[in-house]
């Protein structure tokens, strides 16, 4: 019971973190048709900048400044680089963001070295939120989840209720008409790109203090975020939320379960035979936890290629 509740909470928090990163990715894709390979690198930059700025200003101002800086970088990437390649088609844009992600990863290694840095949460949040079944639950996890929820509600309200959101949504479906009405569509796109990058940076600055902040964090999270976006359906914010939670919960739950295929066969009295085979049959579920998201993605692709909330292909 303790395991179930702990996994449920941790999985939800991890899922919400995934959502913070994938929301920007899916929004940018929905608007511009560009899959931003550098998105997870923005997440990593957010964490590292949060660490660096935090050493000067303390944790809280850094939490504000780091995402702003990342958003500026995102705007620069859109304005000076993506717009240039736009006329050559989506493939080149994809390659460009791939190259930028590669360069950011190498730059981070150059500046911060190959190991994780000591990015810590503020002491005010480094406390126990509550206890259950003799287990302390960190307040910082709740903080991560809270930030993600506030962000989701804010995006939703911004897009649905404000004038800015109206123009953004219109530019999404009818860019030429919006331009004819006198709105600067390229500027809108740049703003959305910057906002998406900033959200990833915020996620990094928040999560980096809890999970390790190291040069591999972009690759690790980036691939899972792609899985989330494929499973949820590209361009769908709701899909991203559901898929994030699903994958967050599944990976967290399976990490502590050492079930094997041999155990399954054991239920039919074939246990010893299956254990004898070894290999795939004695692989524990927990050791597969890292690859589970990818297996889910392959399954979704086979059954419903457009993703859970995606439009029909």
């Amino acid at each position: 019971m303790q395991y179930v509740i702990a996994s449920l909470l941790n999985g939800t928090v991890f899922g919400l973190l995934l959502f913070m990163v994938s929301a920007g990715l899916t929004l940018i894709f929905g608007m511009m048709g560009v899959l931003n390979f550098a998105h997870a690198s923005f997440y990593m930059l957010g964490a590292y900048l949060g660490y660096s700025i935090g050493r000067i200003t303390g944790f809280w101002p850094a939490l504000l400044l780091a995402p702003l800086l990342v958003a500026l970088l995102g705007a620069g990437l859109e304005r000076w680089m993506l717009r240039r390649t736009h006329r050559h088609g989506h493939a080149l844009e994809l390659l460009l963001t791939f190259g930028v992600a590669f360069v950011i990863n190498e730059l981070v290694k150059l500046v911060y070295g190959p190991f994780a840095v000591d990015y810590r949460m503020p002491p005010a949040l480094d406390v126990t939120a509550f206890r259950f079944y003799g287990l302390d639950y960190s307040a910082y996890r709740l903080f991560i989840g809270g930030v993600a929820i506030v962000m989701f509600v804010a995006i939703l309200l911004l897009l649905r209720l404000t004038r800015v959101g109206l123009i953004v949504r219109a530019a999404l479906s009818q860019p030429q008409m919006v331009e004819a009405l006198g709105h600067d569509v390229p500027k809108v796109l740049m703003g959305v790109f910057a906002a998406g990058a900033g959200l990833a940076g915020l996620a990094g600055a928040v999560a980096g203090a809890f999970y390790p902040t190291g040069p591999t964090m972009a690759n690790y999270l980036g691939s899972i975020v792609f899985v989330v976006v494929v499973v949820g359906g590209l361009g769908s914010l709701e899909g991203a939320l559901v898929a994030s939670l699903l994958i967050g919960l599944l990976t967290t739950f399976t990490v502590g379960l050492d079930w094997t295929l041999a155990d399954l066969f054991g239920a039919f009295g074939l246990g010893p035979w299956a254990s004898g085979l070894g290999g795939l049959f004695t692989l524990t579920l927990s050791s597969l936890s890292g690859s589970l998201p990818f297996l889910i993605m392959l399954l979704v692709l086979l059954i419903r290629p457009s993703g859970l909330f995606g439009e029909r292909a």
């Binding site: 894709f29 048709g33 899959l35 390979f37 680089m81 240039r84 390649t85 050559h88 989506h90 493939a91 080149l92 994809l94 390659l95 460009l96 791939f98 190259g99 930028v100 590669f102 360069v103 190498e106 730059l107 150059l110 500046v111 070295g113 690759n219 691939s223 792609f226 899985v227 976006v229 494929v230 590209l234 070894g278 290999g279 795939l280 692989l283 050791s287 597969l288 890292g290 690859s291 998201p293 990818f294 297996l295 993605m297 392959l298 692709l301 086979l302 290629p305 292909a313």
Partner: protein, 411 residues
């Protein structure tokens, strides 16, 4: 025209046969270059024909490597042995199998989805790798030895190069010949207008799977050759950097031509090998070069050369030579500035420098770069790369402007 073809053929043969007369370490590098070239050619099949960008091709390269290593081990331990020269075939087969299964899944969706799925399958392989010791050999990987066959002991790198050369020619000829087959022609249409192809009654998903499988087969072949050359492999082959390598090489070399990727692979492998003792930032420079190429020369190095040839034909060789000289000087100047600043940053941010500073009572010790000591706080140290940067930008701007009247006259 035939005379020129003959000349090109003779030069190519000379270059490919040259390593037989090189010292041992030169042959080793030449073998690496051939393998990288074959891998890049296989990678570009997907893009040039089908317009598909894969970001997880290390999976198929690795599949070939592991298949070859296991067979070599079998031969070593006295089991049923495949002659060493045929072992790359097994690697190709492993590539085919992986390519059919994963390619079928990845090509269910085109474009952006395809790119994401290939990236995720690459990560999947990297996640499974350390968990399955029987196949992937865990952290330490699997090592083996080349077994002699029919009088050849494969003890020297020269013999390994010969083996790689034969298989490289087979693989490259196969890829080149594929374009002329009916399936090859259809896959070109796939990249241009898939919808229309489907309307004509082609099963495009299967066509894409076939294209993917062929690319994976040759990638597996290249991987098997590397396994034969290295006699060792571990699951680290599945890392993202190894999947990125053919992407970078292909587009820096030029993806629009058949041989462009091979040119990129050969040049980058060679330079990477030359500078591996001098810098630890080679990957960074490669990435920066890639971004620059994507932004300013989307057709890659071979595309640039072809364009210069076109300009030389129109505006005369003198104008083209002038442009090339200006452009080369600009790139060199820019590259010097970038390398200087990056290397200086690498030294300044390193732990060794911080320690020297601490023992030196907080003063800033000299930077040792390019076999020269630079005072860290002297303005000369920093004005030099800055001037080089500005000079490079000015030269490139001027070279670009010089090109414009010529290209506008043609338009």
């Amino acid at each position: 025209m035939t005379g020129r073809r003959l000349m090109v053929g003779v030069v190519a043969a000379g270059v490919l046969l040259l390593p037989f007369f090189l010292p041992e370490n030169g042959v080793t590098i030449a073998t690496r270059m051939l393998i990288a070239a074959l891998f890049a050619l296989a990678y570009n099949l997907l893009w040039r024909h089908g317009g598909l960008l894969s970001f997880g091709h290390a999976v198929y390269f690795g599949a070939g490597m592991f298949a070859a290593i296991h067979l070599m081990r079998l031969a070593e331990s006295g089991g049923p042995a495949l002659p060493l020269p045929l072992i790359p075939l097994a690697g190709a087969l492993a590539g085919t199998i992986a390519g059919v299964v994963l390619g079928f899944l990845a090509t269910t969706r085109g474009g952006t989805y395809f790119a994401m799925i290939t990236l995720a399958t690459g990560e999947l392989a990297y996640a499974v790798g350390p968990r399955w010791d029987a196949v992937f050999g865990g952290e330490s990987g699997i090592s083996t030895m080349r077994m002699p066959w029919a009088g050849l002991d494969f003890g020297s790198q020269t013999q390994v190069y010969g083996l790689a050369l034969v298989w490289f020619l087979v693989g490259a000829a196969g890829l080149h010949g594929f374009a002329a087959t009916p399936l090859g022609r259809i896959t070109f249409a796939l990249g241009e207008n898939e919808m229309r192809l489907r309307a004509l009654g082609y099963r495009t998903h299967l066509t894409k799977t076939a294209l993917f499988a062929i690319s994976a087969t040759v990638s597996g072949l290249a991987g098997a050759l590397l396994a034969v050359a290295n006699e060792n492999v571990d699951y680290g082959i599945f890392t993202g950097v190894n999947s990125a390598q053919p992407v970078l090489q292909t587009f820096i070399g030029g993806a629009a031509t058949f041989l462009g990727p091979a040119v990129g692979a050969v040049v980058l492998t060679w330079v990477g090998n030359q500078v591996s003792d001098m810098t630890r930032l080679w990957l960074l420079y490669q990435g920066l070069l890639f971004v620059a190429v994507v932004l300013y020369a989307p057709d890659g190095l071979t595309g640039l050369l072809l364009r210069e040839r076109e300009i030389a034909r129109r505006a005369g060789p003198a104008a083209a030579a002038c442009r090339v000289a200006l452009g080369t000087a600009g790139v060199a100047s820019l590259a010097f500035a970038v390398v200087f600043i990056s290397e200086a940053a690498f030294v300044l941010l390193g732990e060794a420098y911080a320690m020297r500073q601490a023992t030196d009572a907080g003063r800033w010790p000299d930077l040792h770069l390019f076999a020269h000591d630079w005072p860290a706080l002297s303005p000369v140290t920093w004005l030099l790369p800055l001037a080089s940067l500005l000079l490079g930008l000015a030269l490139l701007w001027y070279a670009g402007r010089a090109a414009r009247p010529a290209s506008e006259a043609t338009a």
